[in-house]
Symmetry: C2
Subunit: 454 residues, 2 copies
């Protein structure tokens, strides 16, 4: 088929933009916090209602370890399909003080061309931009040129433990030629970031148990403390500065190509800002900013996210702790297999005399990477040039942990409607209405281009 003309759909966006914004505001007025199950249900209902209002189909699907998924489809012409992934929960990280807001976080007020609302940048703006992009074709009296399939996820847990089984169970309804992910934005120079990768995670709890219960420390000369044993085990896993010392840990990490390195060096990285925030003189390993920008995206890391053991009351306590635990976040880079890395950890603990420590896998996700030379990337970039009038920034690796791995069999590009300074999860989270409009138009252009892609 000939490349669809986007003019009518783009004009519909302009004509109906106030209506679109009003609907986004309504969505933002729902307190979609993981701590408020009823509000999460209401959010799913609202989203499904919106899809249907604009002529699509939507099903609310309760699922294990998750709030209900909303699975939507807006049928298109031709046989191409575009999958969208978004999430409707807000407050991914601990949020700031409501009192610091220009207007209440769930009032969703507009000031100076910006919509201020908790979750508008992550991820409600993205949610509605995908719905409204499909709607625009209908409003223009047309059928979208590709079938749009949209996953709206309501996370109950940050690591989406139910997503894998959900995707597997609905594989036929999620089939697509390509996918637009979320978790991206425009940089300070109005350039859209095309994010092509996500890290995976291997999240472990490591527990040392040396005694059946805490015993009096009169016996320390004779009996081992779990706290000391755990500390000794952790010291085998990395150097004090965090450098991992587990043999084979990074063996399957895919090294960036020279071309990818060159792309990464173009991604904005404010080393001074981070050093100031962290109050450090220099980064680990004395990396300069260019190397640091590459390292945070391409080096697998191990973070001891927490440790606990014994009795930490602010008092003299006289016990030998029987158990002590640590949470280990291992952030995997593209190429890495969580199972293989788990094997490395297990083997190294055994080899260094800590085979008795219990290892629980709390979460796991596979890293993912879309080749920056994939035609879909060029297509999304080209659409961005047309809509934004700037050269998009291709980010072949990112520092984010995510779940792209569950739909790894297709090219995936992350795009969004926010800015680096949108204040996600802080006070005054906002998006610019201009960015919202451009984001809808960009998705329309992607649909049109995908329809005629080889």
């Amino acid at each position: 088929m000939p490349k669809p003309d986007t003019a009518a759909a783009l004009a519909a966006v302009d004509a109906h933009f106030d209506e679109f914004v009003e609907e986004l505001q309504q969505l933002c007025r729902i307190r979609s916090r993981r701590q408020e199950p009823e509000q999460m249900e209401a959010t799913a209902e609202f989203i499904a209602g919106s899809v249907r209002r604009w002529g699509g189909e939507a099903e609310i699907i309760p699922w294990e370890q998750s709030y209900p998924y909303v699975l939507a489809e807006v049928a298109g012409e031709g046989d191409k399909a575009l999958l969208h992934f978004t999430h409707y929960d807000v407050e991914v990280e601990p949020a700031g003080d409501d009192a610091d807001w220009i207007s209440p976080p769930y009032a969703a007020e507009i000031h100076d061309g910006r919509l201020y609302a908790r979750g508008v940048a992550d991820d409600k703006g993205v949610i509605m931009s995908r719905i409204h992009a499909a709607a625009a074709w209908k409003l223009a009296g047309l059928t979208p040129p590709v079938t749009n399939r949209i996953i709206f996820e309501g996370k109950k847990w940050l690591h989406s433990p139910g997503l894998g089984s959900f995707v597997q169970a609905h594989a036929d309804r999620l089939a697509s030629d390509a996918a637009l992910w979320e978790n991206s934005w425009l940089d300070g120079e109005d350039r859209l970031l095309l994010k092509l990768a996500e890290k995976g995670v291997l999240y472990l709890r490591l527990t040392a148990q040396t005694l059946p219960r805490d015993l009096t420390s009169q016996n320390t000369a004779l009996l081992p403390a779990a706290t000391a044993r755990l500390a000794a085990a952790l010291a085998q896993l990395q150097r004090p500065d965090g450098t991992v010392t587990i043999p084979g840990f990074a063996d399957d990490a895919r090294p960036p190509t020279d071309e990818e390195r060159a792309l990464l060096e173009k991604v904005a990285f404010d080393g001074d800002f981070l050093r100031k925030r962290a109050q450090v003189e220099r980064f680990t390993g004395d990396l300069d900013d260019q190397a640091a920008a590459v390292a945070i995206r391409t080096v697998p890391t191990l973070t001891v996210a927490g440790i606990a053991g014994g009795d930490m009351r602010d008092d003299v306590t006289l016990g030998i702790p029987s158990t002590a635990s640590a949470k280990l976040e291992i952030r995997l880079v593209p190429g890495q297999d969580p199972e293989r890395v788990l094997g490395c950890v297990r083997d190294h603990l055994a080899a260094t005399g800590f085979g008795d420590l219990r290892i629980e896998v709390m979460a796991t996700s596979r890293p993912n990477l879309t080749d920056h030379r994939d035609p879909f990337v060029a297509l999304v970039a080209d659409a961005a040039r047309r809509v934004y009038g700037t050269e998009p920034v291709i980010e072949p690796y990112t520092q984010w942990i995510g779940n792209q791995g569950v739909i790894a069999d297709r090219p995936i590009v992350g795009v969004g409607v926010s800015r680096a300074d949108s204040g996600v999860d802080g006070p005054n989270e906002n998006i610019r209405l201009d960015d919202y409009k451009a984001g809808i138009k960009h998705v329309i252009e992607v649909m049109a281009a995908l329809a005629v892609a080889e």
Copy 2:
């Protein structure tokens, strides 16, 4: 003066024993728990009232970081003075379930010749035995042969942070030729244990801070985690089995003489019981029971009593912990100087690259040891032979942390009125009334012997 005749005082104990027991029961019915300030005050009032009732003087002295001290004096003939140390708080360790008691823990009922009450073995039986020993002389129409000075301490904190300044401020009223401490008992063969030493403690909190606040673990490749840094520092202090690796740590530990070792080997030590309780096959360093009994009393130890850092919620959390802390209990043996050992810890951390860790001293006490060849020890042992008809067991070193160091300028012997199986701080804590009577008589004999000691 000639050695005082104890017959009349001993007879008074027999004649008034029911009255003595009744008064001990009354004391045991007060809930002298550190969590109940009013009950602690009431306990101090009761004790002071008892001292006065039997013709002594008592002052209730409020003191910093403590419940009120009761300082008592029962004037004696001659110029010799005997100091007693006791404490009136109960529940030193977390107590068991009240439902497991034969009668309620504060009912202080007598069953089969035993008085069951929370705190009766530690330390209320001792308290009243010292008061009643002085009372017996008065009841016999006599003046005690030595002046008795008694400290009744109400601990607010386990480590008695106010005791040092209290003793210093009241040095003249605490002067004595010798002291009877508490925290001892009879073993399974009706032998009184004469405890001649207490360990000291150097209790530290070690804190690593690597960042001003937790930051996202996206940056782990660039920024250090406090958790990993703390674990690495702890691993420098000891081997995984607890063996301390701080240079000079034990340099000032007084090694037991051959004679003291021989004495220690006579102290009952049930290795099988401890191994079973700890569910270990063998003790650290493969010590046999004889060596273990010596080690727990003479080897300084370091216990990581607690560790905490980061976010231990049962969820995937993505932060670089900015701070992490550990509590270190260093149990000092006789000869050791807390300040010197602190210097060793500090120097070693600095030498191994951890000089940035903050060290807070939470508590400190000096170890103490009374030479087993001191004439006062022979005197107390001789009195025990007469009263108990068995050979007392001299324990030149003990595993207990204590505060004897604050009155280190005189011989100190720990004696008591309980048994190894008195169930201190568990359900059914009890003493045998026969032991209570013998304990009073033993103190009477000690008074008489001290009066004529060289």
